[in-house]
Amino acid sequence: MAVVKLDKIVKRYGGGGPVVVEDVDLTIDDGEFMVLLGPSGCGKSTTLRMIAGLESISGGTLSIDGRVVNDVPAKDRDIAMVFQSYALYPHMSVADNLAFGLRRRSIPGGEIERRVKEVAAILGLAPLLARKPSALSGGQRQRVALGRAMVREPQVFLFDEPLSNLDAALRVNTRSEIIKQHHRLGSTMIYVTHDQVEAMTMGTRICVMNAGKVAQIGAPLDVYWQPANTFVARFLGSPPMNLMDATLTAATRRASSPALDAPLARWSDGVLQARDGRKVTLGVRAEDMAIDPAALDGAPGGRVTGRTIAVEPLGAETLLLLELPGGGEITARLPRHVTAAPDQEVELFFRADAAYLFDVETGDAIAPLETGAAAVRAAVQRRTH
């Protein structure tokens, strides 16, 4: 059990080399499942490797349970890590792979055997203990990798994209297995992924990273429904949030463009007045778009018009891609019966409380009146279909 605290952590390669992680402030509470989420090259794996002790820290302070560990070797941090490639020792049996780390720590042979058998029983590896990694399937190897971390009973578990090499079905199973083990062990876990589904389903909190910096930290639904900036808004959600250029008019409390007209019910007069007549970015999630105005239940709503680029029937739903007159594309997630001809003009509707506003220059969200749990609750209960 441990609290991991990153205070202004920086990673720079070489003396004057590029900064790949910049001023990361992050506290992972005892027993928390923190997901570091971001695209390739955003610095999430480097951050994890600095926590592990596999990369040196160029600046800032890393502490575990109040003890600064910047210069503590990996082996003395009491951390276990599960790698994307599993990193099983190919010349050792499953049992030896599990016991390898314990042997180094001078744990008595009987205790090692007990722990290996216990973990093997929990993960269903008991019949495989004598096998070499080459004789295991991908899912079995991943369970051995997980077992190798569990058997050490460390303070902190680190996961570096552990499900990336598994097929879709195995990924779901192994995801459940890791969640189950987190509930069972109650340990602090830090999990790196670029997969938003993994982040949303596994994390107690998510730390979204972009270009070496923290873009937003929060509970999965908070981050999804209250994105701090356009990067988070686009990165979380599939299809990504639709972002449209508009001009704000404070007097009528509307954002509009040739294709778009949206009431701005969620922002204070002061916020709107400060941006009166200026360009803003208006965001609406694909699932908050409706093709039938009746879906708005009579509430004030916005509308956007575009020409059909593509219709993607997915079975349970249909994705409609539109091109806007002023340029740009938007996607709507609509009921499965919706169809549209190519290049047909289509009008879509959305509720006023489904709209987000972002600053055009910084990309930062313009805070609405209602934030926090209430806003998330309202968003979850919002229905457009």
Partner: protein, 286 residues
């Protein structure tokens, strides 16, 4: 349709039988081509020179197996064999350990001059070893290592080290970094990781260099004949040369001597090639 009917009746289709037959024929011819000289040598090793001169290709009758005893006892082959074993086994052991350690360092650690050292090592493979013969001779004389098995072993190590490092570095560089990181997380230091991870995982490459070095050095003649003059310190290739006079060559005893010298090479190859194959079929880690 023919293939379907053949499959249905449990027989291989005709084209496949034909291609297999061709393959077997080619392999058979190649095996005879390779094995023929060796078998001829084996027959000559149990015949006298007079018998060989009378009919070089005749079957040995009677078999003079006592030629092996004569070579081993009367012609000091036991001494030559022991000398070769001392020099080659010692040199190969040191080569394997130092070569693997150097290859691991070059493959795994970033340090200033890494590629420069690698380049210098690699460049020494390009030049023929004979160009170093005179300078090596002088160095060994200066350090009282001339006419010494230890000196010869040192020369062998320096001759084969670049190729050993070159071959092993290429293999070690392909061992995934995650394995090293996992071992670090498991609590192991650099030296233990080399011993417990790099050497076992790199065993196919190590076995390859071990076989290559052993065969190369066991048969090495040029440096041995220049740097060793004392009859008691001769290695096997120089010992065999003793049967070659200016006017008379004892072909039978030369063949016997060659057979004695070939046996360890075969043993080493058979033993380590099995390890090699086992290592190669161990499978990837992903």
């Amino acid at each position: 349709m023919a293939a379907f009917l053949a499959a249905a009746s449990g027989r291989a289709p005709l084209p496949r039988l034909f291609s297999r037959g061709i393959l077997a024929l080619v392999l058979g011819v190649y095996t005879i081509y390779q094995l023929g000289p060796f078998l001829w040598l084996a027959t000559m090793s149990v015949r006298t020179t007079a018998e060989i001169s009378a009919d070089p290709y005749a079957w040995p009758s009677p078999m003079h197996l006592d030629q092996f005893r004569t070579a081993w006892v009367d012609s000091d082959f036991a001494t030559y064999f022991w000398n070769s074993t001392m020099v080659v086994v010692g040199a190969v052991a040191v080569l394997t350990f130092i070569g693997a350690a150097a290859a691991h360092a070059l493959a795994r650690y970033r340090f200033r001059g890494n590629r420069l050292i690698y380049g210098i090592l690699f460049s020494s493979i390009i030049f023929p070893p004979q160009i170093t013969l005179i300078s090596l001779y002088q160095i060994l004389v200066d350090y009282n290592l001339y006419n010494s098995l230890f000196g010869l072993a040192l020369v062998y190590i320096s001759l084969q080290l670049p190729l050993t490092v070159y071959l092993l570095e290429g293999f070690f560089a392909r061992i995934p970094q995650d394995l090293f990181d996992a071992a670090k997380m498991d609590g192991y230091g650099d030296l233990e990781i080399f011993w417990r991870i790099v050497l076992p995982v790199g065993m196919p490459a190590i076995a390859t260099t071990l076989i290559l070095n052993f065969i190369q050095l066991w048969n090495e003649f040029l440096f041995a004949v220049v740097l060793i003059t004392d009859p008691d310190k001769r290695t096997l290739p120089i010992g065999i040369r003793a049967f070659m006079g200016d006017h008379f060559q004892d072909i039978g005893m030369i063949a016997t001597g060659v057979m004695i010298s070939v046996i360890p090479v075969i043993v080493v190859y058979v033993f380590f090639s099995e390890k090699l194959i086992r290592g190669m079929t161990a499978g990837a880690i992903k």
